[in-house]
């Protein structure tokens, strides 16, 4: 198929459609609004549902209702909006309702700024809502992946009955790159648990209340087993020149591409650097890091935040090597800046 230039946000939206999504509920916020706008244009033409909700809170609860009917449904937002959805996400996770959540991230906390950031990492991976739950979190690093992960996100969501989040820096949503559109997936999947009218069967109930401590514990165990299974099966990372690396950079999202360029540059200068790029942020691909650790002099977690993923890197390394941090806030650091900082960090090591 022909390559076409698309904005990341639009590619993601088109990917969702190709992934069988025919319903969108959301509230505008920069830098995610193009997703809603694209859906507003396309879904009505496909007989789908686009509704601008009155708020993020309403949107996530509309998603709850729509997902309960068995439909593939999504919402997209950015930082502050995602905070407002936390109660709803906790409900979705407990009720095991599949759906696609998108965070086109901007800087925080508070109103913050609208430039790209990765500082919602904890919120996404630790569950900003209450209670023990996880959602799957995918971090694309180019526009093609914005599209592909949307398709894959729905498949994962349905398979595990879990909310799946795509988290991408604002820039990734706003930039254009060529993409190749994949084939659309079939629309319908069988969901016997859906609340779509109890004709010819017993009524279905979708519920998150469990007043009896025993039942609550059982429910948490069931969720926990599912999370363990996902951890076993779905961790995903990309590696680049780590086989002989003395120093391994860990970076995700658009930033991982910038880091890669810096690493190529440093390799040319003779420094043995490598890159591990987590593709799934939850489950975090800890094994590839853990296995590399004994041979490595230092890990460097690069993030557009004050340091969040670094905790996962540390947990994976478990003391086998030092783990250092390089962070920026407010914008994606340039390859030049990363090259410079990495060189400094490594030289500090050498002398």
């Amino acid at each position: 198929m022909k390559k076409v230039l698309m904005k990341g946000n639009e590619a993601l939206a088109q990917g969702a459609i190709d992934g069988g999504c025919r319903s969108y509920f959301g509230y505008p916020i920069t830098p995610s609004s193009e997703i809603a706008e694209y859906m507003a244009r396309k879904l009505p033409l496909l007989g789908g549902v686009f509704l601008q909700a009155e708020s993020e809170l309403a949107a996530i609860n509309m998603v709850y209702g729509a997902a309960a009917t068995g439909a593939r449904v999504m919402t997209a937002t950015s930082g502050p909006g995602m905070s407002l959805k936390q109660e709803g996400i906790s409900f979705l996770a407990e009720a095991e309702l599949p759906c696609l959540l998108v965070n086109i991230s901007r800087g925080g906390p508070g109103l913050g700024g609208i430039q790209p950031a990765q500082s919602d990492y904890f919120q996404a991976t630790r569950g900003g809502g209450h209670g023990d739950y996880h959602i799957m979190v995918l971090a694309p690093n180019n526009v093609q992946e914005m599209m592909d992960f949307a398709i894959e996100g729905f498949a994962l969501a349905d398979h595990y009955r879990i909310p799946v989040m795509i988290m991408a820096e604002g820039t990734l949503g706003q930039m254009m790159e060529p993409v190749i559109q994949r084939e659309s997936v079939p629309l319908l999947t069988d969901k016997p648990w859906a609340t779509d009218g109890c004709k010819n069967r017993k009524p279905n109930i979708i519920n998150t209340l469990h007043l009896s401590p025993d039942v609550l514990e059982q429910r948490n165990m069931i969720l926990s087993d599912k999370y363990q299974e996902i951890k076993r099966s779905e961790k995903k990372a990309e590696t680049f020149m780590i086989e002989d690396a003395d120093y391994i950079v860990v970076a995700f999202g658009l930033l991982s591409r910038v880091a890669k360029k810096a690493i190529m540059e440093l390799r040319q200068q003779g420094m043995k650097m490598g890159l591990i790029r987590p593709i799934t942020l939850w489950p975090f691909p800890d094994e590839v890091i853990h296995q590399a650790a004994p041979q490595v002099k230092k890990f460097i977690s690069i993030e557009i935040s004050m340091g969040q993923m670094i905790e996962d890197v540390r947990l994976a390394v478990n003391g086998m090597a030092p783990v250092e941090f390089m962070g920026r806030i407010g914008s994606v650091p340039s390859p030049q800046e990363i090259t410079r900082r990495l060189a400094q960090m490594v030289e500090g090591e050498i002398k």
């Binding site: 390559k3 230039l5 920069t30 830098p31 609004s33 609208i114 430039q115 604002g170 820039t171 706003q174 930039m175 254009m176 790159e177 060529p178 658009l254 591409r257 910038v258 890669k260 360029k261 810096a262 190529m264 994606v332 340039s334 390859p335 030049q336 800046e337």
Partner: protein, 181 residues
């Protein structure tokens, strides 16, 4: 080969369209491309810019601190970006809206008084296409004929009128570059 070009100016000057146009042409020429706009509809006014990367291979980083080329549409953008251009890079300036000379001495510098050139044209708002035409013609970053071929496809959906007048501006820029640069 990988080239990175920055376009910068006031919001409303069509800076993003310049980058967008170039990106499309490069893509249609079989290149790998990435187009990164500054964004911020949440903030009215101010400046806009975008960064275009054109490469023969897969693009690792679509971002940079020091683009090889910059096309500058106003004074604040010159102030902001002049220092960042890669050494021995190229700087193209709309001198109608830039009331000083660049300070860098290691750059290839091309200036064009866009507003003056516009006076002869019927479309006041196509200054961006003037400068873009001149820039492409001079640097050959993409094939200028390919660019002309692509006009109607890129502006697909716009009125014929619009396309025509933009093309005219673009040609005027080419013309200027051929004569003066």
């Amino acid at each position: 080969m990988e080239k990175q070009v920055l376009f910068a100016g006031f919001g409303g000057q069509g800076v993003l369209s310049m980058g967008n146009f170039l990106t499309h042409v490069a893509l249609n020429s079989g290149k790998e491309v990435a187009f990164v706009p500054s964004y911020g509809a949440e903030m009215r006014g101010g400046t806009a810019n975008c960064l275009v990367t054109i490469s023969d291979e897969e693009i690792s980083s679509p971002l940079t601190d020091s683009p090889a080329m910059a096309v500058i549409m106003n004074r604040p953008s010159l102030d902001k970006f002049e220092g960042k251009i890669m050494s021995r890079g190229t700087l193209v300036i709309n001198s109608s809206l830039v009331d000083r000379k660049p300070a860098r001495e290691d750059l290839l510098i091309y200036e064009l008084e866009v507003n003056k050139l516009l006076e002869g044209l019927d479309n006041e708002r196509s200054g961006n296409m003037v400068l873009l035409g001149a820039y492409i013609e001079k640097t050959g970053i993409v094939d200028i004929d390919k660019a002309l071929e692509n006009f109607s496809q890129i502006f697909h959906g716009k009125s014929d009128e619009f396309i025509k007048s933009n093309r005219k501006a673009f040609l005027a820029g080419i013309e200027y570059a051929r004569r003066h640069w």
